[in-house]
């Protein structure tokens, strides 16, 4: 009995010793850029050859061969549905490839399930975290590899191991906190710690920045740099080219399940990568004529809104949007943009102040009434508010119009012929794929789902259009399309209010930009006055006087 116990402890001690060694001698792992271009001593730690994976109706991966070099950050980019996540899920053992081989450290391996991958030294951080909310950070990290004696979890040792790892790689997180109480960014760090605790040599990050704020993204990149310096190989899945250029050593591009090519990041650029991803030239900035704004279509005055917890979220905001212009609202998320939009669209009633459409107050009316007066709304969360995921494309296209002619006959019954015709028209003109109005919307890609929302809202010829994060989570092709549609609406004389956390989006679409901070509009700039630095400074609460010099701070500046 005693001996059994002893060997158990020593196995664990060995693990801890290894962890400590990695932590204390960061540089010892191997010379840093061993793979630097031109040197012959490149070693592929992970090699995929001729991987093919079919799902019913699609080839997710089509004969992909790819080598990941030891110690590099290898970006894997492609549009949504290009097969990058599938490919890495095969590596991690979640899916099985139909054909093809994987070798790890030069030896062919069969990875049938994640635990095999973990044992080999592969770690993967998913978009949807695999964390147990009710357990603490430390418990999540050690799960199924617990330091223990006689079956009793040695929690102190667990916390210590987690803290040591966290310090070594700069992953700030409280080991004793419950996962339910920490932020999304911290949860991601816990996932990384989980992989490191299991001694991952290759870490696969599946779109890690999708859930992060810009600040958290910066921090993640710092961590990725630390990991690379200490010898961990990283596969970084993303569809944001800027991030590829910022952090990766090499980049592989997938398109429709095929590998388009691999480049050294230093030798490529935004334009080439975008073209490789989409397969044609991409407009990185929307082409548009200068706006010809006319009279005011909608305005808010002295608006005050409380958030769900009853705290003031919008504080005395006044704005106006004119026909034929895009007013962008820039700001770090959570500074009252959401509440502002909800008050305008009728989802919440403002506590004080006016919302005017053509000079008539609409605040406090139901969303349906507001819609009928000519307001269209692209909600920021298309799954929660834009669509009913279990409904077909056709039915989603009449949401909100469902009780209006011509979709109703004899007051009560669906007019399926009209509904179908309407759907067929919109699916065609907004290029929804697959072009099948009967398809359940859940099965569409994010970009196509958003196209359905856009088609429904834009086709009503609104007078005033409210777009909240209209391209969140979409790939380049879909973003380009939706941007063009927004500009087209503007040119038809619609007033557009655009709320976005993406500065690029704000800058490329807006004619005027209002910056929101802590519930207030702190500045309104024309597009000529605005640039990334100035907006960034204002968004973080910088003094508008200093930022602009001559600009009058405050509200409805022209």
């Amino acid at each position: 009995m005693r001996r059994v116990e002893k060997t158990r402890v020593t196995a664990l001690q060995r693990r801890e010793a290894r962890v400590r060694r990695r932590c204390s001698r960061p540089q010892a792992a191997r010379p840093k850029h061993l793979h630097t271009f031109g040197e012959s001593a490149v070693e592929n730690i992970l090699e995929l050859s001729h991987i093919t994976k079919r799902f019913p109706g699609v080839i997710a991966n089509d004969d992909i061969s790819l080598g990941i070099r030891r110690g590099e950050i290898h970006a894997l980019v492609g549009e949504n549905g290009s097969g990058k996540s599938t490919l890495m899920s095969i590596v991690y053992g979640l899916y099985r490839a139909d054909t093809g081989e994987i070798s790890f450290k030069g030896a062919p391996v069969q990875i049938g399930e994640p635990r095999t991958a973990i044992e080999l030294g592969l770690g993967m951080v998913f978009q949807h975290f695999m964390l147990v909310d009710t357990l603490t950070v430390a418990e999540n990290v050690i799960l199924h590899a617990e330091p223990h004696s006689w079956g009793f979890v040695d929690y102190k040792r667990a916390v210590k191991a987690v803290e040591e790892l966290a310090t070594a790689y700069g992953l700030r997180v409280d080991a004793r906190a419950r996962v339910a109480d920490i932020s999304v960014g911290q949860e991601q760090r816990v996932e990384i710690l989980k992989a490191l605790y299991r001694q991952a040599e290759v870490l696969i990050l599946d779109e890690p920045t999708a859930v992060l704020t810009p600040q958290e993204t910066e921090e993640l990149f710092q961590v990725m740099n630390n990991l690379r310096e200490q010898g961990t190989t990283i596969v970084f899945i993303t569809h944001k080219i800027k991030e590829v250029l910022a952090i990766s050593d090499r980049v592989s591009v997938l398109r429709r399940g095929k590998l388009v090519g691999t480049r050294n990041t230093a030798e490529t650029g935004q334009r080439e990568l975008a073209e490789m991803m989409v397969g044609r030239e991409v407009l990185l900035r929307v082409k548009k004529e200068p706006a010809k704004p006319a009279e005011t279509v909608a305005s808010v005055a002295g608006l005050q809104v409380r958030d769900r917890r009853g705290m003031p979220a919008v504080k005395d905001v006044s704005l106006e949007v004119r026909r034929g212009e895009v007013l962008g609202i820039a700001g770090v998320e959570g500074n009252g943009q959401q509440e502002l939009v909800e008050a305008i669209t009728g989802l919440t009633a403002p506590e004080e102040g006016l919302v005017l459409l053509h000079g008539k107050p609409i605040q406090g009316l139901s969303p349906m009434k507001i819609k009928r007066r000519g307001v269209s709304y692209i909600p920021e969360d298309r799954h929660k508010r834009g669509l009913i995921l279990e409904y077909s494309v056709a039915d989603n296209l009449i949401l909100g119009l469902h009780s209006d002619p011509p979709f109703v006959e004899r007051y009560l019954f669906r007019n399926d012929r009209q509904i179908k015709a309407h759907a067929a028209r919109l699916v065609e003109s907004y290029d929804v794929r697959p072009p099948n109005p009967d398809q359940i919307i859940r099965t569409l890609s994010g970009g196509n789902q958003q196209k359905v929302v856009v088609a429904r809202e834009f086709s009503r010829d609104p007078e005033f259009l409210v777009c909240s994060q209209p391209t969140r989570g979409l790939d380049i092709g879909a973003i380009e399309f939706i941007h063009q549609e927004i500009i087209r609406q503007r040119d038809q004389g619609t007033g557009v209010l655009l709320v976005s956390a993406e500065l690029d989006e704000i800058l490329s679409l807006s004619d005027r930009i209002a910056v929101m901070f802590d519930g207030r509009i702190v500045a309104v700039l024309t597009i000529e006055e605005a640039d990334e630095q100035r907006l960034g400074y204002l968004m973080l609460g910088g003094d508008p006087q200093q930022a602009t010099g001559e600009l009058e701070s405050g509200v409805t500046a022209k």
């Binding site: 973990i118 695999m130 147990v132 909310d133 590899a145 079956g151």
Partner: protein, 310 residues
Amino acid sequence: MWWEYITYFINATVLAAALRMATPLIFASMGGIFSERSGVINIGLEGMMLTGAFMGMLVTFYTNNPWVGLVGALLSGGIVGMVHAVAAVRYKVDQVVSGTAINIFAVGFTVFMLRTIFDVAGTSPAVPRIRTVALPVVRHIPVIGEIIGYQNPMVYMALILVVVVHIFLFHTVWGLRLRAVGEHPKAADTVGINVFLTRYIAVITSGALAGLGGAYLSIAHLSRFGDEMTAGRGFIALAAMIFGKWTPFGALGAAMLFGFADAVQMRLQEVGIPRHFVQMIPYILTMVALAGFIGRATPPKSIGKPYEKE
């Protein structure tokens, strides 16, 4: 005046009775905790208790030894638990439906067996029972001695069980894994925990403990089996588990409260309040407790959802 009223209802005798009434609830609710912490709803606790009560009696009848009867109850409860596990884990049957089926089956099975084996309806012949013991030393402590000093060994087993389940759940490797499986089976699976096996073991254990709770009724508290003698105690145990937020000590507290209501009910009958009215008290208390007192009780997140691998 008030003091007299209070001591009439709250005194060592009533508390001792409360503990006796709580014992079957404690066993069954510990069983419930095992099952539900692993992510499987166990509404079949009632049927598992009833089966345990019957089989405990039956084995005791043939062996003349209630302790062997207790083992019989444990095993038979485990077997019924296994049926639920196979249905819920292997065949992914809706867990509420499977549990309800077990409850209905258990009623029919025990009534049928009672008639077939003993050719009687309603009540089994008397069998030997586990006898009450007096604890040395503890018995002489004032008040406490009166409450716990002179009880059935199964009462003590129940109290020890609560401590054991607590330690198991919150301080051992297996408890940690069990909780992880109930909260986020996919996360548990990806780090190498066998979700299916964990759930099988948890649900079988659940049935075994509920079986013991049933046996307390037939071969410890009484010395015979009667048709439907569990009388909804499995559901009360389920309520105690929820009331106690799926923790052993919480469930113990809730079970004690329900046991206390049961004991007080007997007293109220003595003072002439109609029997059927006072018998509602434990149940009303359950609803009131569930509706408001405890705040929101959050069940294990994956509860009721069969796990499927991709």
